[in-house]
Symmetry: C2
Subunit: 190 residues, 2 copies
DNA sequence: ACTAAAAAAGGACATTTGTCCTGATGGCAC
DNA sequence: GTGCCATCAGGACAAATGTCCTTTTTTAGT
């Protein structure tokens, strides 16, 4: 649920330190609630999260929200859109205050071309995401909320993110009312 | 839904042709219904589909089935497991008779290390899958069957796979009964 | 400490989906 | 043709989830 990636963070920190004019990678801050990327808009940068937590979510045409993942230290966002040359798939919003390395697309493409290490990091990250996303899609589709919720709570107990109840409901892809109902029935709390 | 990838197919064909002892890549055939990979088991090969269609699906502990995707010409299966070093995430089963290039993990890892072109193909394929899987997860979670079904039928009309009703239900992650109900209500047929 | 605003809880009812069965339909061996 | 098996459609009911609102609790500001 909260994805964290340390090798990635080191990698981008090194690239940051070694740059001459300091304009390929800059450090930026976002306060809680601010958006790093907006669904359907074109991204002008891609981001490595240096600190804080962001959530990536879809807003469907019926205004319902599905949270795809929470991204923590070392996670990258916006790279899929760059590689596929498409507008932003999700909105990415700071859940806590967030500090990022903001990278220009051109520089990132250049790195991709010349640096096999980056390629391998990315492949590993992508593979992990596919495993997670696909497993979760299957699980949430084939089980009732009760099961998904238990799984989510297990995950959450290992990390400690404090999420609003709305966020949890959106992560499960259900209404808050249904989430409350299940919590009550199971005698659980958050 | 049916994923097809031509550059990948050309790439692996070239590797196949150029090999000396012809043991890193071999051509194999699977008849309709046979399994290329089995969920939870370790894969000994990874596959490029040269012809035919395979379905990748999860079987959850409650015996329900979720079809993740249908893979066609040029699609690769088993590479995620290799990269993450995990047992098979899904079962992969031939929906039609299928011909594949079966590649040894060692050789594939070697290619990954030395060939940046392969890396870029893979990144592109992975990015596409993430887009698809994530969009579908969101869509199926936040809309009723009716909407997902319409989307599926649009997709299907552009390609022509003939799928059993059970497969369609599993792709939508719902019961056959519910699928029938919606088909009737919408006056649709397959 | 008091109030306004926000977040959370939950009642009542509607809709969607699942489960379990039964009855129809269509091959196919004999 | 007859009977058997497999597949499919759908009825009846149950369970899960959503919608719409109202009430309760928390939080933040002054």
């Amino acid at each position: 649920m909260l994805r964290i990636n340390h090798s990635f963070l080191n990698y981008i920190q090194e690239r940051y330190d070694e740059q001459d004019r300091k304009d390929n990678i800059i450090v930026k801050h976002y306060s809680k609630g601010q958006r790093l990327l907006s669904q359907h808009e074109n991204a002008t940068k891609l981001f490595f999260i240096q600190d804080g937590i962001a959530k990536c979510f879809f807003t469907e045409e019926n205004d319902k929200v599905y949270i795809l993942e929470f991204s923590g230290r070392g996670e990258i966002v916006g790279e899929i859109e760059l590689i596929k040359q498409i507008p932003c798939l999700c909105t990415v919003e700071a859940v806590t205050d967030v500090t990022v390395y903001a990278v220009t697309p051109d520089y990132f493409v250049q790195l991709l071309k010349q640096d096999v290490v980056l390629n391998h990091y990315l492949l590993d990250v992508f593979a992990g995401r596919i495993v997670n996303t696909a497993s979760r899609a299957s699980y949430q589709q084939l089980y009732t909320i009760e099961h998904s919720l238990k799984k989510l709570l297990e995950l959450r107990s290992k990390q400690d993110v404090m999420l609003s109840k709305d966020d949890i409901a959106s992560y499960l892809g259900v209404s808050t009312r249904s989430l409350n109902r299940v919590l009550k029935a199971e005698n659980l709390s958050l």
